[in-house]
Symmetry: C2
Subunit: 353 residues, 2 copies
Amino acid sequence: MLEPVDHVVTFSCPVPIRDYPQVLLAHGGGGKLMHQLIDKMFMSSFSRLSFEDCHDSAVLPVFSGRMAFTTDSYVVHPLIFPGGDIGTLAVNGTVNDLAMAGARPLYLSLSFILEEGLPMETLWRITQSIKRAADAAGVTIATGDTKVVDKGKGDGMFITTAGIGVVEYDGEISPGRVRPGDAVILNGDLARHGMAIMAVREGLEFESSIESDTAPLSDIVQTLLKEKVRVHCLRDLTRGGLSSALNEIASAAHVSIELEESRIPVREDVAAACEMLGLDPFYVANEGRFVAFVEAQDAQRCLDVLRGHPLGAQAQWIGICVARPEGVVTLKNKIGATRILDMLSGDQLPRIC
Amino acid sequence: MLEPVDHVVTFSCPVPIRDYPQVLLAHGGGGKLMHQLIDKMFMSSFSRLSFEDCHDSAVLPVFSGRMAFTTDSYVVHPLIFPGGDIGTLAVNGTVNDLAMAGARPLYLSLSFILEEGLPMETLWRITQSIKRAADAAGVTIATGDTKVVDKGKGDGMFITTAGIGVVEYDGEISPGRVRPGDAVILNGDLARHGMAIMAVREGLEFESSIESDTAPLSDIVQTLLKEKVRVHCLRDLTRGGLSSALNEIASAAHVSIELEESRIPVREDVAAACEMLGLDPFYVANEGRFVAFVEAQDAQRCLDVLRGHPLGAQAQWIGICVARPEGVVTLKNKIGATRILDMLSGDQLPRIC
């Protein structure tokens, strides 16, 4: 059996899987081919999944503290893009949802919906990405499932992960705790994930320079909590971007959020790409960015802690919460004019994650 | 907000969702339409999901004991069939995977991948099925996600559920505990789920009489464990049917399993339908059937307990485990001849669950 080596991308999947260059319906049918796929493709990558002791559920030790539980499906198109692939997203996205509840991620489930005809090498490559991302985030892939649908009834591959984490932080982290006076702090520059995807889709020239910002945010958040920064709410800036996330929180917390555009970092090449495609970077998806709502007195300490972490080097204090008008997000631009950042009706970029 | 009433199927979805007769890509885009869908469709059905306190993860109390964790994707075609729909399966299937680990199911996650153009009434109807199935199984839908893919890149709807349960039983339930001498006990007749699906697909005459056996097995299993029947292993008989499940266990436990065909109940109309389509009922999927491997001395008590439960009225002692030949399942037929029940190479019935 092939033992994938950490940090070395193994581009070839093991025999006898490679005898089937494409996924067949039978790979999802519960018979020998499915067991072969699970055994050679997934068991060899995720040591927790043990075929010999194969069972319908993973049985895990219970921990003390509260438990966080979350799920996301990933339907990103294309499957592979600069800076990552659907597998990286499926791990980091769910890890980040746990992190935003103040939880330390422990276990992930991993469920594939494969389209008949998917190249087996693509599945192998993405499985290896999942392994590397899980190792980097310190989570265990504890259980999984594989289904295959007929050609033309899917789109290569969809992945659904669910995650379990432990909340060791004593306080509550939720939109309901956000108060007028809270500082709004962002951990880095915006819009890279969305523009990396769009560059591939549109075949644009700037393709090579913009990579997705996908990253696991659990470590930087745990650092913040260990340093006793009084965090009221955390939110990652995925579908709908900064603007949608802040609108959700302003609405749930019955506050107004005032942002200053000059404090919000957007890389020059990313801004140029957004302009070329007529997209607003404040609505474009990110996969490694979050905002923290913290007590104003802790804002500077929050910035210092974030800036000391590789995923927060460019952290900025981008705005504050005020009492009125409730549920509104405003943006003061570089020449001092203020506009409302509304929530989009539909989506700017379909299938971004 | 519409309050769905238990046991009454609410066939109409609430405004403003019904202003959109079909799912649009924008319903998955992170903007207003997505929030409307989540709020009016899902929040109104699943009380645990609270939009006002909307958060990336559900934060749940930790329980004592061991934790079981499982996931499955559901891609059944057609979405609605006699006796159930994809929503019923998505709850019962994951509940049953937890039950097979001896766990009492507590929480489910629920993730939809919708195809643009799906009739909104179909989504509403299936959401209500999920609510009823979750209530019947006593599980809480704790967290969820919705994605939409372009028309022609999905097939109406795929659902992925993950489940968390608590194992309160002291013993270990796993294939590794199966020993020569163990009795193999089945809780009811075979092949109804698979044939219910095939009847619809093939438009056969017997359509009206065969309904899926989909059911939550957690209560019957918990009853068995509370009665202190010494259970070594449990397995539900889904994809690949009885034959694949027993082959997996024979192989993992290094035993041989000897079955007697005359003791295995198959309804007459189901057997006739199988014959008409050239299918072997021992390979056809079930959604409410399981086998228990128990100590031989406890076999009669196991039967008595199962037969006292609505989901075990037809329970039968169908076979025994012996030492050799390892990993083999044999079937003695009604005239005394013995054949090997092998694992299928591919699948008999694609997209059965």
